[in-house]
């Protein structure tokens, strides 16, 4: 310290405090740039979401404010005496029914595949299998629609007939099963195949992240492999599995082409899964009617789209709530 007092004229070395200060300002610039980009990207999502919501409300407004009789007069496919809500209701019902069916079929299978890949398959088999599952996700939905309608549906018919014959006493499977099977059950199966890859891929990643510590804790207590999966892997992956299912549900809710190409539409609140001409989904209905709709008709279709938007938001919120409810018990802390 005393030496610097005696030689004040000596120039400061470039690596001194001053150098640090200069470097910090240039790093600050990079930091600010990064933070601005990240904030901007985050804001962009909100802006897009808001833009979609505003568009839906504005364009659906004419249909929502037109009196019911006028609406039914102006739009050929809204029956006399029906309101807009009366028109949207069965569509919402059909959309939810198809998506729930798909989810009920896909989630157990996807969980099984994911567990097999992450914990049962020998390593040499596990990664090729993972690739194949990812590949399924890359097939366009119109292809699934063609495959489902032309190839799968005829082959499902015997199964539906068997269900109707043997379980027909349950209203869900009331006989006779429609021929050809352009029914909601077939749609459910095809949608299940479509959402299987995304659910499997996410679930697999989640299961693979189970801490080795927890797995060994279970094994050291004398758990078999299945008991280890039940004690450590599934509880740890539970919230991730719910997220995976919601991703799948989102895709099933919005799926258009496959439903459009398979389902014989109808507008009822019917739980008869094997009957044709009972159900229709919002997305497929829009695709079906849009080309020939007059301006008020387009507005009515957009109103159904608004309903789909709200459903999807509600489903995602519900999923978040389910995940957050047991946050303390999640593996994250």
């Amino acid at each position: 310290m005393s030496s610097t007092d005696q030689q004040p004229a000596r120039p400061a070395p470039p690596t001194g405090l001053r150098g640090l200060v200069e470097r910090r300002t240039s790093r600050d610039l990079a930091g600010r740039l990064f933070s601005a980009t990240a904030t901007g990207a985050g804001a962009l999502i909100l802006v897009t979401l808001a833009a979609v919501a505003v568009f839906l409300v504005v364009r659906a407004w004419p249909a929502m404010t037109t009196p019911a009789e006028e609406l039914a007069d102006a739009i050929s496919w809204i029956p006399e005496g029906s309101t807009l809500l009366g028109y949207v209701g069965p569509l919402v019902f059909g959309t939810l029914l198809a998506a729930v069916l798909a989810l009920a079929l896909a989630v157990p299978v996807a969980t099984g595949i994911a567990l097999f890949i992450s914990h049962y398959a020998p390593r040499r088999l596990a990664s090729p299998l993972g690739y194949v599952v990812d590949l399924l996700a890359a097939i366009p939905s119109v292809i699934y629609g063609l495959w489902g309608g032309l190839w799968l549906a005829p082959r499902l018919l015997p199964a539906w007939q068997w269900l109707a014959d043997n379980l027909g006493f349950i209203p869900l499977f009331r006989e006779p099963a429609s021929t050809p099977p352009r029914v909601i059950m077939t749609v459910g199966v095809v949608l299940a195949v479509m959402i299987l890859p995304i659910i499997t891929a996410v679930a697999r990643e989640v299961f693979l992240q189970t801490p080795r510590l927890h797995e060994e804790a279970a094994l050291a207590l004398g758990a078999t492999r299945w008991e280890m999966v039940r004690m450590a892997v599934i509880p740890f992956g539970r919230s991730g599995l719910i997220s995976a299912a919601m991703l799948g549900l989102g895709r099933a809710l919005g799926e258009t082409m496959a439903v459009f190409m398979i389902l014989s539409p109808g507008f009822t609140y019917s739980f008869e899964l094997l009957q044709a001409g009972q159900h229709q989904t919002i997305a497929a209905n829009i695709a079906n009617q849009f080309a020939e709709a007059n301006p008020l008709g387009v507005s009515a279709l957009i109103a159904t789209g608004l309903a789909l938007f709200v459903i999807t938001l509600a489903v995602n919120t519900a999923a978040r709530w389910v995940v957050a409810r047991r946050k303390d018990f999640s593996g994250a802390n």
Partner: protein, 259 residues
């Protein structure tokens, strides 16, 4: 309840790599046996062969015999799962199941053996095990809170409670205090002293003072160099090991001259 373990000519492999070579030793019942030695000398690996946790790692295998009460744990008719139910294990890092409450954690192993345990019986077992692990007074008012809400030392004692709830013959501890502060370490060491009267305990530790404090017998392991197998250099009463070991290497390690 506690039983002796005899190791004969035990060789432990990871794939083709020989990690521990030619270990023969006897672990006495109702005593604490400590394994000490430098990092990578195979103490933890050897410990994990005692309850067949070693083979959980792909490619891992074992040659030689590990006999508990005359039965070879690696015999062809012995199920690894059954072995692990008899020989409990506590790990280096506390690992309570995060999705289970404190009480459920204690019961986790019991439920594997007997899922139909009654409610009264269960709560009695939870209390007895937590008392056995010196944790009861700290958690008795929050048994339904997640196990991960406890401090590190409490979590480790919860893991011990979970291990002793199934009444094992043997308790293996793999550096149970290395992730804990001195006060929690003291609590665990007191607990080991208490548990000694009922269980056969084998503890791996990097802390030589700890080995000297808690164990009756000590085994010293060493490796000749990287890539060479770990070997048991010497095993004797702890007092002898820490005062007049017969091997120079043991004395060098204990007096801090290497390792």
């Amino acid at each position: 309840m506690a039983q002796r373990i005899d190791l004969k000519d035990l060789n432990v492999y990871y794939g083709s790599f020989l990690a521990v070579a030619d270990v023969s030793m006897t672990i006495e019942p109702r005593s604490v046996t400590a394994f000490i030695g430098p990092s990578g000398c195979g103490k933890s690996t050897l410990l994990r062969t005692l309850n067949r946790m070693h083979e959980v790692i792909p490619g891992a295998r074992v040659g030689g015999t590990v006999e508990m009460d005359g039965v070879d744990l690696y015999g062809s008719d012995v199920d690894a799962v059954a072995v692990r139910r008899q020989i409990g294990m506590v790990f280096q890092r506390p690992n309570p199941f995060p999705t289970m409450s404190i009480a459920e954690n204690v019961l986790a192993g019991v439920r594997l053996n007997n899922s139909r345990i009654g409610k009264d019986e269960a709560s009695e077992l939870v209390e007895r095990s937590l008392q056995g692990a010196n944790l009861w007074n700290e958690v008795k008012d929050r048994l339904d809170r997640p196990g991960s809400s406890l401090s590190g030392g409490q979590q480790q004692r919860l893991c011990i409670a979970r291990a002793i709830a199934v009444k094992p013959q043997v308790l293996l501890m793999d550096e149970p205090c290395s992730a804990l502060d001195p006060i929690s370490t003291l609590a665990i060491e007191d607990l080991i002293a208490d548990l000694r009267s009922e269980y056969t305990i084998v503890i791996v530790t990097h802390n030589m003072q700890q080995a000297a404090r808690v164990s009756d017998r000590t085994g010293f392991f060493n490796i000749a160099g990287t890539g060479k197998p770990g070997k048991l250099i010497e095993m004797d009463d702890t007092r002898t090991m820490f005062s007049t070991p017969s091997e120079q290497a043991t004395e060098d390690y204990i007096s801090g001259r290497f390792g």
